[in-house]
Amino acid sequence: MPLLRGWRRQGVFFSDMIDESLRELYQEVILDHSKHPRHFGPLDHATHNADGLNPLCGDRISVHLKLDGDGRIADIAFEGKGCAISQASASLMTDMLKGRSTAEAEKLMDGFLHLVKGEEGVTGLADDDLETLQVMAGVSAFPMRVKCATLAWHTMKSALEGSGAPAKSE
């Protein structure tokens, strides 16, 4: 696990690095999304729904979306309770996916999942999408928290796939 390499290094320098990682993780955009989540609440006439559960912490999320005749996400919403990371990630996701085609949404979801796991070479995303997603990239420095960030996205995936089975945070 490359993320854990040198995690125990001594000295002020390393604790400053951690501090910086924490500030990146809890940057203004993230905190703003978590305190004022967008598209939060139920959605009338939703065509797709899914529930997600992170069994590690017990956090739950429900996502709702309405696809129009062309397979576009005409409307989207989420409900649930969780940590700042999971709430911000869900809020950001709804912001990004609204108005997209399901094919675009799939691409964004895959890109996001690669990004927060700290995997190199995320491709196929528009520059401004990548930039928006980048605010969540700080999570990759905290392996124990990646699942908080991915829960909403996995749940969205299972809503789109219409499997109806509750999503897990993996």
């Binding site: 995690w7 125990r8 000295g11 390393f14 604790s15 924490l22 905190l31 590690l56 017990g58 940590c83």
Partner: protein, 404 residues
Amino acid sequence: MSFVPPLEDFPILSKPVNGRRLAYLDSAASAQKPKAVLDAMTAFATSEFANVHRGVHRLAAVATQRYEEARVAVQQFLNAKHSDEIIFTKGGTEALNLVSYAFLSPRISAGDEIVLTKMEHHSNIVPWHFMRERKRAVLKWVELREDGSINPPAVAAQITPKTKLLAIAHMSNVLGTVNPLKEIIQIAHAKGVPVVVDGCQGAVHEKVDVQDLDADFYAFTGHKLYGPTGIGALYGKRALLKTMRPFNGGGEMIAEVAEDKVTYAEPPHRFEAGTPPIIEAVGLAAAIKYLNGFDRAAIKAHELELYQYARKEIGRFKWVRVIGEAEDKGAILSFETTGMHAHDVATILDGEGVAVRAGHHCAQVLMERFGVASTTRASFGLYNTREDVDALIAGLEKARSILL
């Protein structure tokens, strides 16, 4: 304060985490291991190891002796009457599952009841859910007072002629509540109900005397007791163990195996199928010996002093709500932080070198009872100091400044 934390015994504590001094406040999840335990395991594995109860060679004899000495160490630790009342398991969870499968399952049928409390850890809930699912048994829950304590008459109220077992924690892993076990066991016994005690926390912080308690079963784990992972023990009254069928099948637990017939060994070996955790048993015995080298009442007083200090300091924060304020409680501090999720708090504390647990603590029924999804938990061990509490409090202030 007479007790001086023996920090030098715990090598891990002097190693920085995230570049900071480690304040390890997660002993209720698992305690750190003193050098005495690690050394005992290494010494045994280096010069005395072989499988137990099998070979006739010298090492087999020595290893068997060490393993059985460990059983006696556990017997004395719990003040059990006989060493054959101690079954080695891989932990507290397996010990409780053993009671579910080997004791309760043959004795319970549809509509029968199991009484348990709302403070139980999942390991003392799920094995009883198995009985609900498989035997259509009914689970009955003892409500908690607002301070997280149990009112013994509330236990009595849940017991009916259909009750087949009472399952109860000695000490709550979230609230720290220490239950009045002796009184509760008397209540259950007066109604003819056997009692299984989850002692995973209790055995660490309280002096246990299973004979005085008159517990029918008492389960605990090694790794919370400054011992190794992979080992725990179940105490069971000899008369009960003798009536129980085996749990797992395999080597060591048989008397005789033929093509069309099998007979079983006597307890405790009947319940120890396969090669047991031998090195871990030696480690557990070393942990018990290590603990016995201190005045355990002084350890408890030390931990409680730290708890009270932390409780007072955290009380300054209007945005903190402490859960679990029973009069009789051990050194576990669980709290909710307004506007901040426990996981975010724990991540920031970690950056400060402060290791705490955040989440539901494998006690979701309890969390539901107190209307919280998750809490942050600081739990204390014999090696903690006021410095650890100071780091926690400073870390919380930092979390507040970052998150809000």
